[in-house]
Symmetry: C2
């Protein structure tokens, strides 16, 4: 069998062997080499570029690789076939997905403020922000020949006396360490305990000496990105935060491709490993190192994720989500412990999910809905979570309706040639002069930060400005010429936002007609969903009192520009609020408070789910929305 | 490092390397080679014989190996040191411990009858012989676009409707298989469920088509032997039974040596592996093959074992059992699932222990006490469990007192040169003619079965007959000469029960003065415990109304002979009842019935534990009991 060597920019190599004729992308996947393949390997997206360094690698022709690049060795892994021993370089380009990246540490107070504000706001609705975990200091009398009660009963008796619990239970892990810990600590210990109704459950027993922390983890598992927040469950203090790309990305950019992959032989395990072993466990190590806490000291994990992510994370067959009648295995569940699915925190830590509402409206949206507080107001609000799965909720304190659409990863910088997430180096805002067509960009980061790529909010601005200045037409095609406008050999136009010498990387940062087209389809998916949902209950856009925008699109989002390109309904700017990653904030609230957790279950139970794919008008509306701003200009009076 | 090859009689070899100078026994243990070492490797018992086949193996001199045998290559592994590459043969002699052996299959109806009779008797006391496990047939409506309830809620709803349960819970394993099983079975399934108060817990979900069985396992973990019984929890039917030697035997014959070994670096894991991985898991495979049931279909395991065995089985530090004030980690616990400790049955199967009463009175005795029914009678009964750990209970329906003593493995054939358990080939009874000193033996097995060794009941008979015929004196030394009486070079006497040509093996079956001495110490330990316990409450032997004898000594036990050697109190023969392995029978009852389980907890709570080692008179009494029948002949009027 031919040998394949993958070489990374940092010098690491991974060597594997492959059956003759097998695809290079498959070979990479089997060897756990992460190569972007948002389109799941059908040659469409052009992301899986590698460079041949030795040997011959036959490959189909593609528009994504120029003749010159082909000569230099560039190939798309998905359409290349391994025929002999080869060595390929895996480029480490500025990519939203390539490797784990910290979006933000808690070095800024603003980060913490988001959660504290959310906590205060939720508290304002009457929800008590208190969870059931406690750190109990337990002093026992040491046993003697006259008092020979066994260790477990001794502890149980002491905890009962202390808490008034009618029953005290403990896990095997506690029983196992009990005899040694009790004697090392001279029968003065701390218990990590949870009140469960009248009972107390002991998760852990620790020496009284140290400063013991009951860690809790909130995780937002997005299709594209994953963010984790570590808190102290006893005090509510935020300890650390970290994020990473979802390791499943190499199996496809959207949930449908992931489900298809998971239904293949061994696929469910591969997809679960990609999120648990490759993404979340390393993230936990990172976040714990940051906070100086042992991962075993995390006793609860709350997950907010869409239904597919929930299932794949839990290692539960997701295939029926995409088969009529689209039935999930669970909306909510309390059957899962961390050790069941290989999450490396305390083995008995419960895995709690923000509940799903349907196959395509998941816990990310129910968690976000809690945070939006739309359920607590008489006014009609629209909540939009702009992820790879776009999800919407419309309603007020009387009713809620929700739906989901597949937007693709464009909002988070995916499917965009120079796209990236809203982190240091991302162009988050852009103005273009109508006269000289020169851009003026704002880059996330310290002063002097050179641009690396462009995030969602920057893409909105750029497209909006190109449209406003007449450089592109409503179909997103370039219709003016200029210094910064280029056309490749196939005639495809692009606009250079930053030349190589101005940028941090070694290439121009540009936006192409393909990028614009991808983004228009993403915004079209969202806006058509808004229209169909409102129509279905005889509401129209003017009846919306508030719009909450959530997601990784970036806090720099310019609502006016988003309206101009027809992404958001054309109502007063003041009605829009960007609330950041509300899925994570919701998971945080759920972790912090038993009542908030119960409230989310209530909310989920009260949401009416609208299956867009069952509505024939949706496809027509979507097509009509794939224009700037829309084929029906009357919907956007302020733009016209 | 020198290489060591162990070669077995069946041709298998195990190769390992050892640090120069390390003991051959240690080397064998590290390589998981089972070599008997009841004395835990101090050269005392002479059981760890191996034969050198290649290389040189320096070894200390020992009485256990003659000059001639040494020349032939025989060595004791424990006192031999590995200095160079060697190959040794591990003999496969008829031994009580060498390898797993079936004591009895369920080919005889008698086997089953024991358990059915116990069940009837316990039922006679008003205990309902019914457990909380149920096989529920659940038919659900298949989901549709109009009925999109997720799978877990669909099942929960159906089970609630069916059972009236207020809450239905399921394990992760059930949730994981749920979507696939439901659809494969068209939403008609069977659930393995347990009623827990008002709730129902679902352990498993199975296709409705097959004949599904809820397996339950009762296990008696003796220090020397392990016996397992498989039943159908729904019907109570006994499916299969199997037994094996306790794999921990290579770490010492008694509980103290095992505890010492377990306290060494990595020792707890080694001891746990020896019982779980090497003994019980293979036993489960065997018993399941026999019953044609998958091990995953066993949903509950009840264990009756002494306190040390309980702890080591559960992988919980046992070291404090032998340190004052002798405190166990638990008497009873519901914290342990099969998967916690590596038992390969259904991972969520609870591991239920017959409760311990003290560090040296364990679940074997509480389980046995239930079966003896002494707690249900006004008469005073004595219950004696003759294991390696001898345990006693005395009392009636008003009070119970218990104690334990270390008898060693002699009752089960251990520490006896030709000893074996009460299985095919064992001499179970013996008469010796006073005139010609010729023996007449009875051998367990089919007609014509040649003797392989001698079990506990046979040893009692032989010693009793040697004593009655004046061949040995009250100290157990040979005082007559005869054809079958031999003396070795050191003058140690022995009596040949069967010559090589009459026996199944290739050596004479004899009983030596060392054997007799070992057995006298075992019976002395038991009888002195009886005396001290009765004395402590001002009872004497004549006040005993009934004696229940349990243990692996063999159903052929001759009570008259046992009295003659001073093992049992000298009261009317009619008062004695051999009740076999009451520990296993008790575990069976506990498995069969929730009420029986509760009753055993009650019994344990009502037993007064007498710590013999805290009573100075015990040692004197023990010494006085190490005679035939006793130094105080008045205690045995019928013998004199």
């Amino acid at each position: 069998m031919p040998e394949v060597v993958f070489r990374f920019e940092d010098g690491r190599t991974i060597q594997t062997s492959a059956a003759k004729g097998s695809s290079l992308l498959e070979t990479a996947r089997n060897a756990n080499v992460v190569i972007d393949a948002p389109c799941s390997g059908n040659g469409a997206c052009g992301k899986c570029r590698v460079k041949l360094a030795a040997g011959a690698l036959p490959s189909k022709k593609t528009l994504h690789i120029t003749e010159e690049e082909f000569e230099q060795g560039w190939r798309l892994a998905c359409i290349s076939s391994v025929e002999e021993n080869i060595e390929v370089e895996v480029p480490d380009v500025a990519s939203a997905f390539k490797k784990r990246m910290k979006i933000a540490n808690l070095d800024s107070k603003e980060e913490t403020a988001i959660f504290e504000e959310a906590k205060r706001e939720i508290e304002g609705t009457g929800i008590h922000m208190k969870n059931a975990m406690e750190l109990l200091s337990v002093d026992m009398k040491a046993p003697s020949l006259d008092d020979t009660m066994p260790d477990n009963e001794r502890l149980e008796r002491a905890v009962k006396q202390m808490t008034g619990a009618s029953d005290v239970r403990m896990s095997y892990a506690v029983l196992k360490k009990l005899p040694v810990v009790l004697r090392e600590c001279e029968f003065r210990v701390q218990c990590v305990a949870e009140r469960v109704g009248e009972d107390v459950f002991i998760y852990d027993i620790l020496p009284k000496a140290g400063e013991n922390i009951i860690g809790g983890l909130a995780v937002d598992i997005g299709t594209t990105s994953v963010v984790a927040l570590l808190i102290d469950l006893a005090t509510g203090k935020i300890l650390s935060k970290a994020s990473a790309g979802n390791g499943q990305i190499r199996y496809g950019a959207d949930v449908i491709n992931r489900i298809i992959e998971s239904a293949k032989e061994g696929g469910l395990k591969r997809l679960q490993d990609a999120i648990v072993m490759e993404t979340i466990n390393p993230l936990i190590l990172e976040i714990c190192r940051d906070a100086n806490l042992a991962p075993e000291c995390i006793y609860r994990i709350c997950v907010a994720a869409n239904t597919t992510m929930n299932h794949l994370f839990a290692g539960i067959c997701a295939d029926y989500l995409r088969q009529e009648p689209y039935i999930p295995a669970f909306f909510k569940t309390h059957s899962i412990l961390a050790s069941d699915i290989g999450i490396r925190i305390h083995p008995d830590a419960p895995v709690v999910f923000a509940p799903n509402v349907g196959s395509y409206v998941g816990g990310d949206i129910t968690a976000g809905t809690l945070v939006s507080l739309l359920w607590n107001r008489p006014e009609f609000s629209l909540f939009m979570d702009l992820g790879t799965n776009g999800e919407l909720v419309f309603g007020n304190s009387d009713f809620m309706m929700c739906c989901a659409c597949s937007a693709g990863p464009a909002f988070e910088g995916g499917d965009i040639s120079c796209g990236m997430r809203a982190t240091d180096g991302a162009i988050e805002a852009c103005e273009i002069s109508a006269e000289d067509m020169e851009p003026h960009v704002r880059v996330i980061g310290d002063a002097g930060q050179k641009p690396v790529g462009i995030c969602g909010s920057g893409i909105i601005d750029t497209i909006s400005e190109l449209f406003r200045t007449g450089m592109i037409n409503p179909k997103g095609k370039f219709v003016r010429e200029g210094k910064r406008i280029r056309h490749d050999e196939h005639g495809m136009g692009s606009y250079v936002l930053a030349y190589q010498e101005e940028a941090a990387g070694n290439k121009d940062i540009e936006i192409t007609e393909v990028d614009i087209d991808n983004f228009i389809r993403a915004k079209g998916a969202i806006f058509s969903a808004v229209r169909i949902m409102l129509n279905s209950i005889d509401f129209d856009i003017t009846m919306i009192d508030k719009v909450y925008v959530a997601g990784g699109i970036g806090s720099g989002i310019n609502m006016k520009n988003a309206i101009r390109i027809g992404m958001f309904p054309d109502i007063e700017i003041e009605k829009f609020h960007y609330i950041g990653n509300s899925s994570l904030t919701g998971a945080y609230a759920m972790l912090m408070s038993t009542e908030a957790e119960r409230k989310i279950y209530d909310l989920a139970g009260n949401m009416t789910y609208l299956e867009l794919s069952a509505i024939p008008a949706y496809m027509d509306e979507f097509v009509a929305c794939c224009f700037l701003p829309h084929t029906d200009a009357e919907l956007f009076p302020s733009v016209v």
